[in-house]
């Protein structure tokens, strides 16, 4: 499979704190690439840099071979990048349907297609409800529906299961599984069950650096990872 998203030697410092430490990472067409790592490892900051919301200090990012570095966030979205937010950032005065509609209108698609994306994210029954009246889990699903409505080639998911109960989590796993092959994903997630269920490849980020990358079995066996991350989880 061909490389869709390529991140090459990315560096970002916040004052003395290096939050992205020479990260090199790619996402292949159709794959789900999970990115795991402890709190504060720099996962959300990495997504922000890929989208163009946060400016990296050094390194290159490209999508399908086209350099994104000089492009605005809007231009990157047009090229096929989309993200969800770790803490849902939805439009509180609008209905679920309108939240999706703005993403469609932004790319010149008809607002009525919103039903399609709400349905894919499992929110069809909530279309006319205002975001303020949705549960946390439903807002997470709405985040996904909005991102899908931009018609992405690569979807950057920032902890889609965070704060969900077991049933909601399982539902989200099913929804993401349904998208496999259609859109490539970089899946940032703490829920290891979900990660092992979905990921084709897993990379581990600790203190801003990728310390391991591979399939589920090799990551679970990696002593560095066990010490730095999984060990913490088990404790």
């Amino acid at each position: 499979m061909s490389v869709l998203l390529a991140i090459d030697d990315l560096v970002k410092n916040y004052g003395g704190l290096r939050v992205t430490d020479h990260v090199t990472l790619d996402v292949l067409g159709g794959e789900i690439h999970a990115l795991i790592g402890p709190n504060g490892a720099g996962k959300s900051t990495l997504i922000g840099q890929i989208m163009g919301e946060i400016k990296p200090d050094a390194g290159r990012i490209s999508l399908e071979g086209h350099a994104l570095d000089a492009l605005s966030q809007a231009a990157r979205v047009r090229r096929g990048l989309a993200r969800t937010f770790q803490t849902p950032d939805t439009l509180g005065e609008y209905t679920a349907q309108e939240n999706v509609a703005v993403a469609l209108l932004a790319r010149g698609a008809p607002a009525r297609d919103a039903a399609l994306y709400l349905d894919r994210a499992g929110l069809a029954a909530r279309a006319q409800m205002r975001v303020a009246d949705l549960s946390h889990g439903e807002r997470k699903q709405l985040e996904l529906a909005i991102a899908l409505a931009t018609h992405p080639r690569v979807l950057l998911l920032d902890e889609p299961m965070a704060g969900l109960g077991p049933t909601e989590s399982a539902q989200m796993v099913e929804i993401l599984r349904g998208l496999r092959g259609e859109v490539a994903m970089l899946l940032v997630e703490h829920d290891m069950k979900a990660v092992f269920a979905l990921a084709d490849r897993i990379s581990v980020l600790v203190y801003g650096a990728i310390i391991a990358s591979g399939d589920a079995a090799s990551i679970q066996a990696d002593p560095l990872v066990r010490e730095a991350y999984l060990g913490v989880e088990e404790a």
């Binding site: 989208m51 605005s72 966030q73 809007a74 993200r83 950032d89 509180g92 509609a101 703005v102």
Partner: protein, 324 residues
């Protein structure tokens, strides 16, 4: 219950419109012809407040500089009218005009240009900084017109007659009242369409979360800028009408207190609604007129009264009875 509310929400504006249409006759009957001019003033400031609402209520942009666009529109109409009367050229190039349509177009153009430039700079900031920068630009324009001796400077510019429109007798206050009413209704219609358009939906999204809208690929700066320009143009249109109403233009129209009054009208009537700002303008100017008739210390009463009303009617008069 819900149906009654809906009916009231439709019936009230229709009743208000009927009352407005009948007002010149009623004022005549009551022997209060000055009411017609007062109501015209309310409508013009209602137009200006509604224009500010595009930036403020729809776009979430707290501008304390809209008096500048209001004033620029007034001067555009006033300057062209003066040149038409003198038979001279503006800047030695542009002939004057005594046609209301021409001068309203000139006001839209001039205030739109001013808003385009000021917006392009001010929108690089946000929050308190944005408020301060819009105020600063408005003050600059205020002092520019104070210094503009060729057009009256400090003393302002008196116009010999009102502009012409389709051979109507514009000198008649009732006629000018109806012309203003038509312009206001047209503007409110545009606002309603704008709010429910693609532009309005996206602009509302940006007001709620700029980060969210950027993440779906919206160039948020462009939308805010466009909202600011449209907003400035509406204020300029109001200025052109006000120049005609009193046949007078002066830098005082651009004073920062005018910007403040436009903000108060929005807060009072309901920013973000279609009719709210106009309702706020009627209320504010109405109170001023009534209180000023009672006592010369009316401002001491108006201040606390406004505070009470804003507290009592959260979200503005236009949202009474409506669930937030």
């Amino acid at each position: 219950m819900r149906d009654t509310q809906k009916h009231i929400r439709i019936a009230l504006p229709v009743a208000a419109l009927a009352l407005l249409v009948a007002l010149p006759f009623l004022a005549q009957l009551a022997g209060q012809p000055a009411l017609v001019t007062l109501a015209t003033r309310m409508m013009i400031l209602g137009l200006a407040a509604s224009a500010l609402n595009i930036a403020l209520g729809f776009g979430g942009l707290i501008s304390l500089g809209h008096a500048a666009f209001y004033g620029v529109g007034a001067y555009a109409a006033g300057i062209l009218t003066t040149h038409a009367a003198e038979g001279t050229l503006f800047l030695g190039l542009i002939p004057g005009s005594d046609q209301l349509l021409v001068n309203m177009a000139a006001a839209l153009l001039a205030s739109g240009l001013a808003a385009a430039i000021i917006g392009a700079l001010a929108l690089r900031t946000s929050g308190i900084q944005f408020i301060m920068i819009t105020l600063a630009f408005a003050q600059m324009l205020f002092f520019f017109f104070v210094a503009l001796k060729a057009y009256g400077g400090d003393d302002g510019l008196s116009l010999r007659r009102r502009n012409q429109l389709f051979g109507l007798n514009m000198r008649d206050d009732a006629t000018f009242f109806y012309v203003t009413l038509v312009v206001l209704l047209a503007w409110l219609g545009i606002c309603a369409r704008l709010l429910h358009s693609r532009f309005g939906l996206i602009l509302g999204g940006i007001r709620q979360s700029e980060r969210r809208m950027q993440a779906v690929g919206v160039d948020t700066f462009r939308y805010r800028w466009l909202a600011f320009v449209i907003s400035g143009m509406g204020a300029g249109l109001a200025g052109a009408l006000m120049a005609n109403l009193g046949r007078f233009v002066s830098p005082d129209m651009m004073h920062w207190t005018t910007s403040g009054e436009l903000l108060i009208m929005n807060v009072l009537g309901g920013a973000g609604t279609i009719l709210g700002p106009a309702i706020g303008a009627f209320a504010l100017i109405g109170f001023e007129a009534v209180l000023a008739g009672w006592t010369e210390h009316w401002q001491i009463i108006l201040g606390p009264l406004l505070v009470l009303m804003v507290l009592a009617f959260r979200g503005g008069l236009a949202r009474i009875g409506r669930r937030a």
